[in-house]
Symmetry: C2
Subunit: 240 residues, 2 copies
């Protein structure tokens, strides 16, 4: 949609003081997003149109399009909001904890807490996000803001901790932890145990192992193996 | 579909000698499967009906249903055939090689060779297989024959090799290698490099690392870490 139509569909009145206008806009945006998520859950993602979302939210279709260009933008909005909730909750976890393993475990549990209410939705929605060419894939360029924000949390987990590790591994670790986190999310999507307990156990079991490997990275005797791992990552990352 | 309709739709003539009947049946089955895969590629999986597949293959709809109960059974047929090709090609690779790393690398490259012609299909089809509740998921009970056959190949990789490893790890390793193989396939689905070269590099880089870890499993000093890993696997496998 063009900027012209965007401006035409702007529901805020000229002359209203900026903060109020902004607050009202944010409220409408949230209403549309929540309505969309509810309809996606109730009727399925493919079956829900922008028109139906606008109608159910009680706003004009043009108004809905003002906030979200497409259904995919609604999902990106959902990702961004979850990402934001995870970041805010992580700040609390990370405030008083200096130990790497405790920080990592805390952040991962917080991430599962935030996503918890959407588990059944995630299981049905996953197929759209899993398609390699989809902008909703966590590896797509459209997802890069959410991905960067997520990697930043894991960088914070590392940088705010007292752990000592190999300097080359330190550079790569935030992205590797994010990749591991995607693995946890994949496991969580498939997890049919009550309250996704198996995912909690996976986190509790995997974090001490990661912590151990990170600490061992400084041992001279393990340096060849570490170099081999980093070279492998570098080689599969190359685009040719 | 019931056995009664199955019998009614049986295209073979009574009285024909068994081997001929069987051969002709197998030929029809292959024709339907190949036609289906072509239409799935050309028109998309969701958009292709059993009716269209039967028409394009020049067989009666009832005949198509005699061989495949549904489109999902066609995909299972595709899995089984690929699995079978991988097994046959693996036999050649494994015949003269006793070294664990070479056996594992050989089998994985063979697996990528076999799947190669279906890469673009796999990228579009993946979303159906990725849905946790789908019988087409590699973790579903419907996929268990293909999964067991695949695990058996990795058991053969291990058992026919001269590698020495911790006995508890030996019990778990075929399934862990299969899980790693699923990771390679996931990477391959997302791999946009020419001829999926990055997947080949992933295999070549990961196999020596796996080999090293497997050999290290016998070291007494690493036993606590190994026990920790096996306990983690055990705990996330539990269904509660």
């Amino acid at each position: 949609m063009t900027n012209v139509t965007t401006a035409a569909a702007d529901p805020t009145e000229p002359g209203t003081p900026a903060p109020t206008r902004q607050a009202r806009g944010e409220q409408t945006r949230q209403l549309i997003l929540e309505t969309a998520l509810r309809l996606f859950r109730e009727r399925g993602y493919a079956e829900t149109t922008m028109r139906a979302i606008a109608k159910e939210a009680g706003v004009a279709v043009g108004n809905a399009y003002y906030y979200f260009d497409s259904k995919e933008h609604l999902i990106q909005g959902f990702y961004d909001r979850n990402q934001d909730e995870m970041r805010v909750a992580s700040v609390r976890v990370l405030a008083d904890e200096k130990e790497f393993a405790a920080r990592l475990r805390g952040v991962m549990h917080v991430g599962i807490d935030v996503n918890g209410p959407y588990h059944s939705f995630a299981a049905t929605f996953f197929k759209y996000a899993a398609e390699p060419s989809s902008p909703l894939s966590p590896f797509s360029s459209a997802s890069s803001p959410a991905r960067d924000a997520s990697i930043a949390i894991f960088r914070d987990v590392l940088d705010g901790s007292t752990v000592k590790l190999d300097p080359e591994l330190r550079k790569e670790l935030p992205e590797l932890l994010w990749l591991g986190w995607m693995g946890v999310i994949l496991f969580w999507v498939y997890d049919k145990s009550p309250d996704q307990r198996r995912t909690r156990r996976l986190i509790d079991g995997a974090v001490p192992l990661i912590d151990r490997m990170v600490s061992l990275s400084r041992l001279r005797v393990l340096r060849p193996a570490l170099r081999q791992i980093l070279a492998l990552i570098e080689s599969v990352r190359r685009d040719d």
